[in-house]
Amino acid sequence: MKGFRCIRLKEYSVTFLFVLSLVSSLASSFLPSQEASAYGGISDPFATNEEILDFAVAHGPSGFPTKSQLKGADYNWAVASYEPDESTFLFYFGQNDDFIIENGGPPDTFSINGKLCRWNKDLSGGPGCNPIENEYSLTSEFLYALKLTSGEASYVIENDPTLYFYIQEILLTTTRETIRPDIKVEVNDKTVTLTDVSSPPDDVTPYALHAVVTVGTFETSVEFLEADIAEGEEAEVTVSNYAPSSVQVYYTELDGTRRPSSNLYDYRETVVTFEIDGSSFVIDTTGTVCDENDLCTPPDEPEYEDCFAYGTDLIGGFQCIVGNIGKFLGNFFASLFKPDPAFTKQMVDLFKNFTTDTYGLTAVLSAPFGLLSTIQEQTYNCVAINLPFPFSGGTLTLPCMGSTYASKFGAAFTLYQVIVTAGISYYVLLGILKQVKNMKDPENDRIEAHQL
């Protein structure tokens, strides 16, 4: 009885752990990510090196080095921080020697005193310098990490001679916004209607779109049709063939010239592909996901439905949760039963790799399979056999005969090989047929292994 209780207890424990893991997995699936909101913008991401230096000098404390001093070789360290209120990176440049930077006195005081320091704004460790353990290089990852601190800390970075160029480059690559035109493509037989449905940021100046419709493939024939689309308007083209097609759209100025990327915006193309086959359909690129080649495809459907979207609709929310649990369980069990190809191969090869000490007595059964495996995989080599004669000291050498047969017997040898191959193949096929016939007889449990 105790054993029974113990087993029941184990079952309850396993069930509890399973439910716990299920709930935690579902929670992690449904709860929104907390990371994304920590990223912010930068007020002047394209500040030149000179402007950065001007800013550093202007915002530096009294006694802060002058610009000319900052450019000197003596100042080989910089203190970087991110100000979320101003959305600005701050770089304070300094010497590697002992010095103290005063910034209006406590609590806004931090010191660099011959050692690398971290300055915490909350000054939980008291005013002054807190030694840091690591040095940091100015990389894009570092800047993102800096932004994540949201002004909580400053870091000392190495101020190498190329630092200013790094700043410029990184700020450009991390802050310029990519925008693409959005278009609605309505295909009705051979008529393609293109409508501008773009919604660029408000500060984007008036624009137009240029569309290139490509019909056909380069293997056959290609038809190019072009159209200019005014902002919010539509244009229509008529193709002459049914074929795989694509539409390429990009921003232009009002005079029709292609709009180049600016400091604030990287103007990219939008490309969609479809098949013109006489049917009618509509494609809207709004919300699509575009790759590095600007090919835009609809985003993947989220695996789980957002149940918070139902709000006060409790019944709908409950149905949503039940549906998500069903999907989770389906995925869970599917993952359990998904075979691992490497594991399957290992199991299939189990017999081929037997050795005498693998399974003790069972090796007697498995030993022939190593030989069969060698023959099947053709991993053997023909080596001439040397047989020493007893007493006389001579050696009988038996060379490999394949090339000799081929050269001496020619077509006859080929005919022999064809006949032998046919005979073996016939035997194998007959054997397989016999095996299949035996499978139909459920009472037949004869073990051929015993014949080995």
């Binding site: 199991m347 005498t356 030993a367 030989l371 069969l372 023959i375 005969m401 090989q417």
Partner: protein, 103 residues
């Protein structure tokens, strides 16, 4: 998908069966090794025999003139013919032993 599932289940069964057979045979093998000193030697002799055959099989095939593709087909068929029953037999054997030994 269904074929993958059954393949996976079968290989799992074989793995479990082999493990059980190995565990049960281990003390028997150890006992035989202790009581019959030449037991290990006998097993080695079987393996050595097949090793010799493996060494000369290339020459034998060359001498017979049988195409290697035909022999490969024949070997694949024999492996298929004998491994499946042996695997099933191992599963049955493991099942029977487990039924006898379970508390």
């Amino acid at each position: 998908m269904i074929a993958d599932f059954f393949t996976f289940m079968f290989t799992m069964l074989v793995l479990i069966a082999f493990t059980i057979v190995k565990i049960i045979l281990y003390p028997i093998d150890a006992l035989l090794s202790a009581l019959i000193p030449d037991y290990d030697g006998a097993l080695e002799a079987v393996q050595s025999f097949f090793d010799i055959i493996t060494d000369v099989i290339g020459w034998v095939i060359s001498f017979s003139g049988i195409p290697v593709t035909a022999l490969s087909l024949l070997a694949a068929y024999l492996i298929f013919k004998y491994t499946i029953p042996v695997q099933v037999w191992f599963i049955k054997l493991a099942g029977k032993w487990y039924a006898k030994l379970k508390p």
